[in-house]
């Protein structure tokens, strides 16, 4: 039993260490978005996190700024901005994709800033 578990733990350890972020090579960028509510936050964070080269994305709803930690070898700021606009939100001065924006639930579309913070 012991040998087996050690082997498996080692295997898992390998999986972990290859997928875990490598802090030395990591870059960070802050992008202002047009997020409205918790649902928007989840949508943007999820799409960014699941994009190639992104280690972490955290959106602060108070200032609508998303902080992205990424691997510059795998992606760049322009691609990250494109992920946000394709999700239906503005990324700094870049305007969102209109089709993606129109698909959002009405409460998450621009001009609904009062929503969400109950």
């Amino acid at each position: 039993m012991k040998q087996l578990t050690i082997v498996l733990a080692l295997l898992l350890g390998v999986v972990f260490s290859t997928t875990a972020s490598k802090p030395g090579k990591e870059k960070e960028v802050k992008i202002k978005t047009s997020a409205v509510c918790e649902m928007c936050k989840e949508r943007i964070e999820k799409n960014l996190t699941l994009s190639k080269g992104v280690n972490e994305a955290v959106l602060n709803l108070d200032d609508k700024v998303v902080t992205i930690k990424y691997n510059p070898k795998k992606t760049d700021e322009a691609s990250l901005r494109k992920v946000i606009t394709d999700t239906g939100y503005d990324a700094d001065s870049q305007v969102c994709s209109q089709t993606a924006h129109d698909k959002l639930p009405s409460c998450c579309q621009k001009g609904n800033e009062s929503h969400g913070h109950h």
Partner: protein, 757 residues
Amino acid sequence: MLTQIEQMKLPSLNIYLILLSCLLGGRLQAQRVTGTIYERNETGKKSALVGVNVFWGGTSLGTITDSLGKFDIARSAKTNRLIISYIGYKTDTIKISAESNFDIIMKPEGQLGEVVVRGTSSQIDRLNPIQTEIITTKALAKAACCNLSESFETNASVSVSYSDAVTGAKQIQFLGLGGQYVQTNVENVPTIRGLASTFGMNYIPGTWIQSIDIAKGAGSVVNGYESLTGAINVELIKPDAREKTYFNTYVNNFGRGELNLNLNRKLSDKWAVGFLTHASTLQNRVDNNGDGFMDLPLYTQFNGINRWQYKSDKMMAQFGVKALHENRLGGQMAFRENMRGTSQAYGFGNVTNRVEFFSKTAKLYQDKPYKGLGLILNASQHNTNSYFGFANYDGNQRTLYGNLIYQSIISNTNHQFKTGFNYLLDDYRETYKDSLMTRMESVPGAFFEYTYNYLDKFTVVAGLRADYHNLFGAFVTPRLHARWQPLEHTVVRVSAGRGQRTPNALAENYGYLVSGRAVRFWGGPLQPEVSWNYGLSITQTFHWFEKHWDLILDYYRTDFQNQLVADTDHADALASHLYFYNLRGKSYSNSFQVELNTLLSKRTEVKVAYRLFDVWQTMGQPANDVRLAQRMMIPRERVLFNIGYTLPYDKWKADLTVQWNGKARINDPMKSLQATIERKSMPILYSQSFVNVNAQVSRAFKKFEVYLGGENLGNFKQPNPIIHSEDPFNKYFDAGQTWGPVIGRTIYAGIRIKVKD
């Protein structure tokens, strides 16, 4: 990256800690989070809520709001999820990213049901006076979770094993006893019971499940009297779920394939409709242990639910239909369905059809969120036809269930109560070989349950119900639960209560029917099973090595006043026996469990648990060999270790579970025969202990998720799971002595596609 743990190099640290220490991040700084909690009254004005629970998810670090509705809580190193809960209001979870001050307006609950806090993958419901573990979708995704029977893999309290080596039926072990003593509810309606207890665990696909609550001990009186050791409640995906479409497909190395599709649509502000569907099959004959028998039965299952839901400010209603068809075929590799009833090859077959109508209606009181009136109505028809070699077993069960519940408060929300009536009608018709058994049970009942809550520090739930059973007369079911939080990090729970149920000897001991045993009901008609259950549990949280730990200790005892004894100990020159009879003498179960949980880092969860079952039964009267013997097939000890690693939004997820199962008492008809010939007492035999290892890795993409996993990776197989497999028409043939895995290593892969709003 060296961490403090590694630098200390304590000998007590195990290999996992050291291996994973490379992942541990830096410490969070101590900060405080403050805020005010309000409700909005009829005129739309905000007013402060006093006594609201504010705590960090998965911990017992918490506080309550003061007379101005304000709270002030130290930041937790373990989580950023702050949970706001108040009875009668919707529980709110807030992700705290930076130090801040919050104004929160709580919304009334809007439906009947206890306040349940959900968050991390599995946790103890902190505030529930009944010791309750919650398995969320996050924990369910840790394993392939094809169905309910596979959903407890990472849970220490519930274990599931095959009941025999042929049929694929599965049995729960809980507090040292079988699944029939746990009330298994789907959305608070008793569901896996009666004839459905044989394969019922396979009838709830994992993709339909939203969460599972496991309550230990006597339980609430609201849903009936049948929970002897506890209650498992499964909540299914609701029609108004945010996931509009969920598609899942699964395949494993033995050729089992599975398709699941959930569709949920909001039709208007008030109406929503949901479809949960499932189809799965195995058509590949597998015999890896070379005993000539299929290790798994071939099967096909079609299963579906259609549910309609209506929600307005004043009422909530839902109704729908469930339907299931399943076909199983097992036995010797050469067996074909047309050989049924011949001695060409030994075969097993089962066809089950089940239909169920369900409805729930609740009247709500907008300005009084603590008040509600609910009505549950269910009707089901369960039909099952089986054969084991030459023996046929057919069963039909029709059930009606109604429950009317009124809940309100006495002067303030510190005193709540639920009261109501229910009615249960069970109509059974079973034939086994040449004997016909029919039973009609009609049981009206009434209940009252009072809950006293003092600032969430001390809670008592006292319940009483009275039922009149048409066959067994009137009986009273008292139950008491108390929860006390003497210190901030310590919760103590005690419980005591009575339970009663009518046993279904054949359906609950189905695995023993795959044998040459002669079935006999001995010593008069079967009486209802009656037990008292007593429990004590302590939940302690503490800081150690800069980490947050939860330690849960619990002890439960179940004492039977009457029990159905299924006795397989005896064999003589004429036959090997399966006796069913009423308990005469002592029967009890002691269950002790210790569980330790921690978050090693923000992304790594670890659980270690040890469980001891000490279960004894007085048996042997039919052969005049009376003694107190260990309950069959229950491993005395079990150790569970689980480690899970998750990146944000499940980009990568890896999970490993190792279980060690101790020895269980088993039986061998040949040894019994020998003892009979030598005029000795029946032999006491034990199985081996074994280790089971499961692991899974999954990766999420924007639109879908893929997973790859393995079960029984150590490839342990029970040697000779079938006694006399070479001669299955022998009277000492027995496939019901299964204590370990019959099939070896299983590798599976699948994909999940979810479309959200």
